[in-house]
Point group: C2
Chain length 549, copies 2
């Protein structure tokens, strides 16, 4: 039996485009002699459709797409993800389903049993979990068909009380197929493949796995669909960060021997490279799916905006990224020179617009209420906010989307100005700690000095008052980032952090900064998610609270 | 048996304060001869604790609070809500529990079985549902103890596959106790009481119900804890929008007859009055729990900022609300006069700051890039954003929190400026449609003309260009609001809206405006929730999508 895996970049709610891509892949697989073509979880709608699932009209559109795809399934079968309506009145009204299409119609269904409802997942919000299990027979083969999370609960502290494959295996299947929507983070491909290999070893069956690829606002999907051998290695994997279609002969996957000295996990890419590629895809798809081509950003001469600009140039083309240099009285000459040099290196357009007159004018405007009060955070923020006004005015005038350039360390401690440098349609580095931003810069510069060396080596500064340095009010970034990582990604509390060797006053101060700046992050742009715990939909904290604050 | 219901305004994560309030109420109930005092769901932590529940340290603090409260339970028992750790390794690690405390310790537990995971609720994110049911015996009475949602699934399209009270009733309980965290919206008190009366009638038992009161960022809790008679009426209900403690003699509740001509549902308050009272509480608690006393807002002379200012003055005191009038070249003279009059009526401080010089300066700053391009949305937004800069500068300088004054109709169609009039720490009217804002204004003015009549009667305008009116680009508000209500609150799709009699081109245009402005609402301040579907945590839509857009 020939099985095609179709890895597609879907567009949420764009039924015409999704259905057309699905049918194109189906025809291509048929032309290549495939017996079965497998598409991802909730392929017809794109993932995650979120509360669109609560609209009857949206579900009808999904089911219509299924019908349209089914009509093409003659002489070939397909497995495709879609929401489906439940007949049983008890429980929620939908299942998250894998439909088996053949002979022009829906011939069988499997429904998702384990509904992830943590981090960025909200599946129990919409779907009823399924508790009956039946293999699907096709061309003499028995298929154990599952959906994403269904094969993930194999650890020592299971999150669910049932394991679907433990049930399905009782029916003696010949192969496993898992359709998924498994969002990227920099450790996810490795973890995913470890989970898949644990399954093939445990059940002694081949597994065909189809993932999404492409960006859906915050969520990035890296693809990496694959066929895994029952002997416990990745037989072959599809493209990462790009669409792909590949056809496998079932017997070949079953009988293959592992290559000598090859890692059973297949392709494993360096963390910094993964983040780089994911962010480029994230920017490209954010613009492409919204129908925009051009970006604008404030280029400060610092490392964050420099890295953001290079990633945007790689995503959209240098000519489509417009840099705006917005010096104030406190900007160093270096800053302007470094920014100009970067724009020149990329061949991108740039504008130099001093904010001094606008600042003076606002200063004067506020004189009647501020009187002789000393320069403080208010004036620092006015500068950042004037920059925000100018960038948004240009975005409005020319139809560019503004890129936010804040990094995760800043976002975590609230070291950025709401309605100022926090502005933007999408945050490129909001899930990248400062220490990782440095590694990205080094990676970008590996062949030539694209980002001026000085932008990388000079001490980070917001340049909002004379001689300001980030370390005036923050610990060194290597310490800061490790505390943040343990608190944010690893859910460690203050006692555990002190037990790890961090000083209590620093721990207390940092956690307090994180918790008291929730109100800022509530209003932050969507952040391209590259870690296991990004600010945004996957991290839900109260604003008005008093805990570690 | 004497049962005390303790309705408390908790502060999320503020264990010292919560525990102290709980113990104070317990001692007060003891002094009044109560046998049992009942506290709300997750009382020790406040509700909703959200992802704090993922921190071991946070759970330990909860359990420590339970111990402290239990130590006071000598000669009196208590029922209190807290997360609890599960022994079983399978499934999630926590329950949402009701602990029965007596003789200085935890004597029994009930765990929540039905975990709401819709709208603003995320309980399946943290908790494992419970499937074993046992009544609690105390002083010869058998108590069927449930938690909030456990008694709600009594409709014709049940959301869950099990009904806890149907199980507990088999054990012949004498009374029902339900501890809850039931957030306010303007229909919720009625619905809640209907649900409670359905339960008492179905099981022929009295029910003692304890709710939270107070605001937790977006979520408002109206209190209204109550005792319900097995004969199907509300025996007595506690305060709305305020803390309360009341003691009931069980036999008296069981034996009471309904008052002639009384509504079995008890107190039912008009929608506009409810919204008014809820918003005043929401503002007061947002400031109080964050430790702030003073608010600032832009006062335009229009109805939205006028209503916001009155609500803030009632929440914080007139002297603590500072109005800033920020006229531009397009502001009518009336606007300034109306605004001044309102501030004078309230006796609140105000400042008049023209934005013309700052606008001219920014216009000049942008001249090299804008050249001779015509005045458009870019310049309109610059005005709104300069106002935002000035208000935030004053907020930063003086330690005020900026109040956002946008209404729900504007927020829905994106008729507001990101980083301009969308700024604020909290949005007061973001869940109130424009037509309801008018009703609020009329209600506020019922005894005297606090809001200048002209602010209410003049045609709404953003005054960002000459002679602009809201109706230039929007349908009349009564039509707009009805379409929005059906789409947002009632989840009606385009076909259903047309079938209801709305014109297709208008429906299509409005839904498109709503869906294409998700990116703006993503960055909006938290909105005080007064409807069944507010923008914010309870409404989760993709930004990058193409559905009805």
């Amino acid at each position: 039996m020939k099985i095609a895996l179709a890895q597609i970049n879907y567009h949420i709610g764009n039924f015409e485009s999704n259905t057309s891509k699905i049918i194109t892949a189906l025809e291509k697989a048929r032309a290549a002699g495939a017996d079965l073509v497998v598409f991802a979880e909730l392929a017809v709608s794109g993932y995650p459709p979120r509360d669109f699932l609560e609209f009857d009209d949206f579900i009808e559109r999904c089911l219509l797409s299924v019908e349209q795809v089914a009509a093409h399934c003659k002489g070939i079968a397909a497995i495709i993800g879609s929401p489906s309506r439940r007949a049983d009145i008890k429980g929620k009204n939908l299942h998250n389903s894998a439909l088996f299409l053949a002979d022009g119609k829906v011939k069988a269904m499997a429904h998702k049993s384990l509904l992830p409802n943590y981090d960025i997942f909200d599946e129990y919000r919409y779907f009823e979990p399924f508790r009956e299990f039946e293999v699907i027979e096709y061309k003499g083969k028995r298929i154990a068909l599952t959906i994403c999370e269904d094969i993930w609960d194999i650890g020592e502290d299971p999150l669910y009380t049932i394991n679907p494959m433990d049930e399905l295996i009782k029916q003696s299947p010949d192969l496993m197929i898992n359709i998924a929507a498994s969002p990227f983070h920099y450790e996810q491909a490795r973890t995913r493949k470890e989970v898949i290999l644990t399954n093939v070893r445990k059940y002694n069956l081949p597994l065909f796995y189809v993932n999404h690829v492409g960006a859906q606002t915050e969520l990035l999907f890296d693809g990496g669909s694959l066929a895994a051998s029952p002997r416990g290695f990745v037989f072959d994997e599809l493209n990462y960060f790009d669409e792909d279609l590949r056809i496998f002969e079932l017997e070949e996957v079953i009988n293959a021997s592992p290559k000598q000295d090859a890692n059973p996990l297949g392709i494993l890419t360096d963390k910094t490279v993964l983040i780089h590629d994911a962010l480029v895809m994230g920017i490209r798809n954010y613009f492409g799916k919204l129908g925009f081509t051009k970006a604008i950003l404030g280029l400060s001469g610092g490392i964050d905006s420099a890295v953001t600009m290079v990633l945007a140039a790689r995503a959209l083309g240098s000519e489509n990224v417009r840099a705006v240099l917005l010096p104030s009285a406190f900007s160093s000459e270096h800053s302007v020179n470094d920014a100009v040099e970067l724009a020149a290196n990329l061949g991108s357009p740039y504008d130099l617009i001093s904010i001094e007159n606008a600042f003076d004018s606002l200063d004067e405007t506020l004189q009647p209420v501020f009187g002789d009060l000393p320069f403080d955070i208010a004036e620092e923020n006015i500068q950042a906010r004037i920059r925000g006004v100018i960038l948004m005015a240009m975005s409005n005038k020319f139809g560019h989307i503004l890129l936010n350039t804040s990094n995760k360390s800043e976002a975590a401690v609230g070291y950025s100005t709401l309605y100022g440098d926090m502005n933007g349609g999408i945050s490129v580095l909001g899930d990248v700690y400062k220490t990782e931003v440095f590694r990205l810069a080094r990676y970008i510069n590996k062949d030539e000095e694209l980002i001026p060396e000085h932008s990388i080596t000079k001490p980070p500064s917001a340049e909002l008052r004379p001689d300001q340095k980030d370390t005036d009010s923050l610990p060194e970034y290597d310490i800061l980032d490790e505390i943040l990582f343990q608190y944010i990604e690893k859910r460690k509390g203050p006692k555990e952090l002190v037990a790890m060797g961090f000083e209590k006053p620093i721990v207390d101060r940092i956690l307090k900064m994180v918790n008291t700046s929730e109100y800022k992050r509530f209003q932050t742009p969507p952040i391209l998610r590259v870690s296991s715990k990004a600010f945004g939909m996957g991290r839900r904290m109260p604003i008005v609270a008093r805990y570690l604050s």
